[in-house]
Symmetry: C2
Subunit: 360 residues, 2 copies
């Protein structure tokens, strides 16, 4: 039995498991973030991004902020995708306005061979945040835990930060596939342990972000990204305290590989806005639920245009009968420049417009 | 009759037209560029990028540089994709290390309504370069002319430069589709006139780069990018002095829309490295030739790995019988950090390994 409060709105979890729902649930990737003035205020009090992400009180505060404004159907842990390599000893830091960096990127064989699954205690601050957020949510909506995929983490670990072309990590992949496979195996085991510990701490669904899978060539993607995400998915606990814990896999730019992604055992697949939902659904059949896929820049348009584009997404998904399995989301993280009132329009549009579709 | 020297190597043109060839021809997007020390030397003499691109002598010099090093099967005009909006009066300039900018981006209705097809005389320096390059080539290989697509040009024209998320141009698209369609119509008419003038000046094939088509949502892409590229393709002269002038359309990130792209009337479709060539060929049938699609970062690997990845691309294309229609290329422009000797390995590998395949 769980010691957490009972869930009052499980629409999101039911949609992921393709069970009947009364309306299409939605949440937004990066919904706790810089577009909200209250987030920027908390961030200022925390002093730095890491100060925010590593403190369970602050993490709880910002995770709940979008839920206080909007009728979102899920909360997602506020954290950084690079907590894992940081726990591996790579030394995460942030350069203001330039994104994440590592002090000790993996560049030579010795560093790669020394890489190992870190003790999960180093990530205790994340698990503490999960428990505190779940407790504070008090059953309003489910809490999503998350991690970067093994390949996406490897990109940062080898490049030492963001990259336009990933030439360092790809050169290693092509020149020394043995070293790359070692990194990816260690990452897969670590990500699985990390997500399972988030589930133990209270996460009610988990999502794997393969942000850079779409940078890989066809053939290479399957071997060096999807294969290791599959290892993670297969090592996840599927149930906790008698509740199913659904998993979502999102590969930005992965539309061409949708059928293969749908086969790795996750409950749902996230889609970016280049994917046609009608075709996607035909391709995956009943294997997985689908999550997505409004272009985040639609939120820079007026209310009427937002409603029109929401209608197009709902329509393109097709019949919303029992167990059709659609979770509404953006096709990528919300932009920091988004006007907060556009999100209110979006949330209302998805709920209002989808309700009659589910009655049919 | 053409007053230019007869063509000695028309393998590239024959492959585009799906005629029999003895080996798979190749050229590289951005083959005249910063990875070559001789390019950097000419660039230094020219004083600036625009000084280089706008001077037919310099443009001729750098266009021919990669041909003097490598047995490439085509030359491509050295120019910038933003010559067209510059001729429209937007005021192109470059910020060192930050890419192109416009002094007068299109931001309000008045600016948009004032946009018109510019007199082609303003682009005479480009046509002069085409003629001079073709003359200097003296028939060694064919010369490709090019332009950005209407949508890709519109991105720069509205954003005022490069962008991570295209939120300004997309906000205009969603909020004022009428204004966006006006820009795209003017761009389509201008690009068609521009490419036809390049053909008159001596270009033996033309390519349209839809670099940012892949940033659009499914449905929007077809209406706001592909539709206007189709207008350009349909307005192109198909023959000059009794020679067919093949056209190539390349949409980065357009793999999901391949069948629709293959239907707009171009002779060939360029593919990035996320596309599976076997599936692509099955999808397009005999409608178009295919160009691509090695990941440019393979050129950061060793010679053995380069040969192996070339073999995979050739193999993935399938049977190379008469009229199969494959032009080898990278899936995107060559990186400025590429070691020049890797290109020598690539060119040799494509020619050597493909020759026996075409005999079969």
């Amino acid at each position: 039995m769980s010691h957490f409060a009972p869930l009052q709105n499980d629409t999101f979890l039911r949609a992921l498991l393709r069970e009947p729902v009364e309306y299409t649930p939605l949440w937004l990737m990066r919904q706790a973030g810089r577009y909200l003035p209250e987030y920027r205020a908390t961030r200022a009090r925390a002093g730095s991004f890491l100060g925010l992400a590593q403190n369970p009180d602050f993490a709880t505060e910002v995770t709940l902020q979008p839920l206080d404004r909007y009728a979102l159907d899920a909360a997602i842990l506020f954290s950084d995708i690079l907590t894992v390599p940081d726990a591996m000893g790579l030394g995460l830091y942030f350069v203001e306005g330039e994104g994440p960096r590592f002090e000790r990127p993996l560049r030579d064989e010795k560093q790669v061979q020394a890489l190992a699954v870190p003790p999960m205690e180093r990530l205790q601050y994340v698990f503490d945040a999960v428990t505190q957020i779940r407790t504070t949510l008090a059953g309003r909506v489910p809490l999503i835990g998350f991690s970067g995929s093994p390949w996406t983490l490897a990109c940062y670990m080898v490049e030492g930060g963001g990259s336009d072309d990933f030439r360092t990590v790809k050169a290693m992949l092509y020149n020394r596939p043995d070293l790359m496979r070692h990194i990816l195996s260690v990452n897969a085991a670590t990500v699985a342990a990390y997500l399972n510990a988030q589930i133990d701490a209270g996460a009610q669904a988990v999502m794997i972000f393969d942000t850079w899978g779409g940078a890989l060539a066809d053939g290479i993607y399957q071997q060096f990204s999807l294969q290791y995400t599959r290892e993670v998915v297969q090592a996840l606990q599927k149930e906790k305290n008698g509740q199913r814990i659904p998993s979502i896999v999102f590969t930005k730019g992965g539309g061409l590989w949708l059928e293969e992604i749908a086969d790795i055992g996750a409950d749902a697949v996230g889609l970016d806005w280049t994917v046609n939902l009608t075709k996607a659904r035909a391709a995956v059949g009943n294997r997985v639920a689908l999550q997505g896929n409004l272009d985040p820049t639609v939120l820079f348009a007026g209310p009427e245009q937002i409603r029109q584009e929401v209608a197009k997404v709902l329509d393109s998904f097709g019949a919303h009968g029992a167990g059709s399995g659609h979770v509404f989301n953006l096709g990528h993280g919300i932009s920091q420049f988004t006007p907060p009132e556009a999100v209110a329009t979006l949330v209302d549009a998805v709920h209002t417009m989808s309700r009659p579709l589910h009655k049919a």
